[in-house]
Symmetry: C2
Subunit: 370 residues, 2 copies
């Protein structure tokens, strides 16, 4: 696995069970996953020579993030390595304009969008679709970074001044955000987890509710169908997370990720097969596992670093208060707002389960009761 | 954790989630757990200097097996290390005669027993309790090794000829074998998992049924009470597995183990808190986790090595046949009869769940349908 963040770290738990020896390419020995695997190599994921040395002897290669240059991924495949997802699929998770072109071509629901090179084009786009206009960096954004909601030509001009390649999207008046996590294996098997609701704060996911409360079953099936179709049409191998907006008139695709995804962390404790095991199975072209829920209601809450770096000392309260809460720490240094872990609660009543997850997350992050 | 077998390997999965960095003392770099931790040290668990070097910098020390000399464990504690379980508790899992003396003293149900030094003492014991007489090595036996069922003085004399310190026990006419897994923390909190039935073949556990089918709830409570009392009276910190015989007249304690135990592997997928997480919590003196079942019926089947060392190639059939089966491999070389992994099935119908676990285990081990 190229990259050694928390996704690689949690993949290690699944790899241990399957008897698969996980090698990670880390930037430093202190990386989240480098702390928990026997075979952590140091190197630069932007350097083809480092990638080639890393790949030597691996049965399959996959990713903890989307930042490996597309051409290097293609080069590894040309060397004869099994790379999942491949460059031709992954580019859709790396380049938002390529993604929009392709989704539009296959008929997946998208907001109005356009590549933007000059302020005049934003004005033109706004004349057609109205203000505000959402400007997005074509490459490199995440967790709300690289996204600007512009209410005027002046605001857009400021963003354009940065020189980053941009695209415009119409702001979608959504009711809530959903996510569909699917897996697809090289031999073409596909599986979808239940559709979840994701709750964001300041552009960062703070909670995931599984399954999405009150979602119309037909709409849920449509959402899963869209995600599976995208996986098939784009030739995704491994996991694909499709973030969607639910609007009064239906679903709109927001973003794609081709790796284990924050919206799927609930599956570790809340589904028969965790997304990390599913990803390992898929990239090794093994039959996929059951995505069934382990409880009627599962809520995941992210732990965002607060001001106090000592989170471990707060275990006592949280564990004593709720012996059923599942805690996951990523072994990362605490910085305010940084994702340092997550908690998962399972049960039957949404309000109760959600309150448990929120309480644990808030207390672990800040030592504050909620 | 001293020792780097499969118990340490599975402990690593729990440690990753808790953000606890696990160090293991391995005999070789190829040991089951040494393959999956970042901090594997090589050394001899019988050598106090190796143990002292290993312990340096650890917050707590625990064990993957019971073979560390009792006096070395006491020495580590005298050095100021937090060692769980401590030497005074662990000796009861190392020395069967010490265990019987203590259990007898606290009123836990035991078979008739006696330390044995000469053939005449076996004859005398048999005159009182009848043949056959079970002779057990006082130290070092496991998985049926170190246990001899003798039907005559001649058979007993053969065993005595080996010179191993022995004890005699009356053969218990049991209906089935049960196991109770409890955890106890240094601050005195105790928790019991549901009582399970263990199924042995040739002295090796092959299946665990959770909860024990058809067990009278009052008897289950008695069994849990016995295990918790033993944990308290012996000052156990960490896990304690109490193997029991169920007879027509009640329960009899067979063996003790003070570490994660084969009879608790089902908890990884089948309980809210795995035994490995529970052990980590207990030895770090954190509040204990919920032992609740994750499904009405959970069956664990051990994977015993067959003649074909290539188990991985049989994943395809097993995973495709049963997408809900949970597979755990220990990263060990296959040898006939060796425990190389286990599978767990969850569901509601015992016969169906048991058939699924058996099928998967048999196919993974031998490539044979059952």
């Amino acid at each position: 696995m190229i990259g050694a963040g928390q996704l690689a770290r949690m993949t290690q738990q699944a790899a241990i069970a399957l008897g698969v020896e996980l090698r990670v390419l880390a930037e430093s020995a202190g990386d989240s996953a480098a702390r928990v695997v026997a075979d952590a190599r140091l190197g630069d994921y932007r350097d083809l020579a480092d990638l080639r040395a890393f790949a030597q002897g691996c049965d399959a290669i996959t990713f903890d993030h989307e930042h490996v240059p597309t051409e290097h991924i293609a080069a590894l495949a040309a060397d004869g390595h099994a790379v999942h997802p491949g460059a031709q699929a992954l580019v859709h998770a790396q380049d938002k304009a390529v993604m929009r072109e392709r989704l539009t071509a296959i008929g997946a629901p998208c907001p109005a969008w356009r590549r933007i090179a000059a302020a005049a084009e934003v004005e033109e786009f706004a004349a057609e679709h109205g203000w505000p206009v959402v400007l997005k960096a074509v490459r490199g954004g995440y967790d709300g970074r690289g996204v600007w909601v512009c209410r005027s030509g002046e605001e857009a001009a400021e963003v354009l001044a940065s020189g980053v390649p941009l695209m415009a999207e119409a702001l979608v008046p959504f009711e809530r955000e959903l996510a569909v996590l699917v897996a697809r294996s090289p031999h073409g098997q596909g599986v979808s987890y239940p559709v979840v609701e994701t709750v964001q704060k300041d552009g960062i996911c703070v909670e995931v509710l599984a399954p999405a409360p009150g979602l119309d079953p037909e709409r849920a099936a449509v959402a899963q169908g869209i995600a599976l179709k995208i996986a098939t049409e784009l030739g995704v191998t491994g996991l694909l997370a499709v973030e969607m907006f639910e609007t009064s008139s239906g679903l709109v695709v927001n973003e794609l990720a081709m790796r284990p995804h924050n919206s799927g962390h609930w599956t570790i404790d809340g589904a028969r097969t965790s997304q990390f095991e599913q990803h390992v199975r898929a990239v090794l072209d093994l039959p996929l596992g059951s995505p069934a829920l382990a409880a009627p209601v599962v809520v995941m809450a992210n732990l965002l670093g607060g001001d106090d770096p000592d989170v471990f000392s707060r275990y006592e309260h949280v564990m004593a208060h709720d012996p059923g809460i599942k805690i996951h720490f990523y072994g990362k240094d605490v910085r305010p707002g940084r994702k340092i872990g997550h908690v998962t609660a399972l049960g039957t009543d949404l309000d109760e389960v959600r309150a448990r997850a929120r309480h644990a997350a808030a207390y672990l992050a800040d030592g504050v009761y909620t």
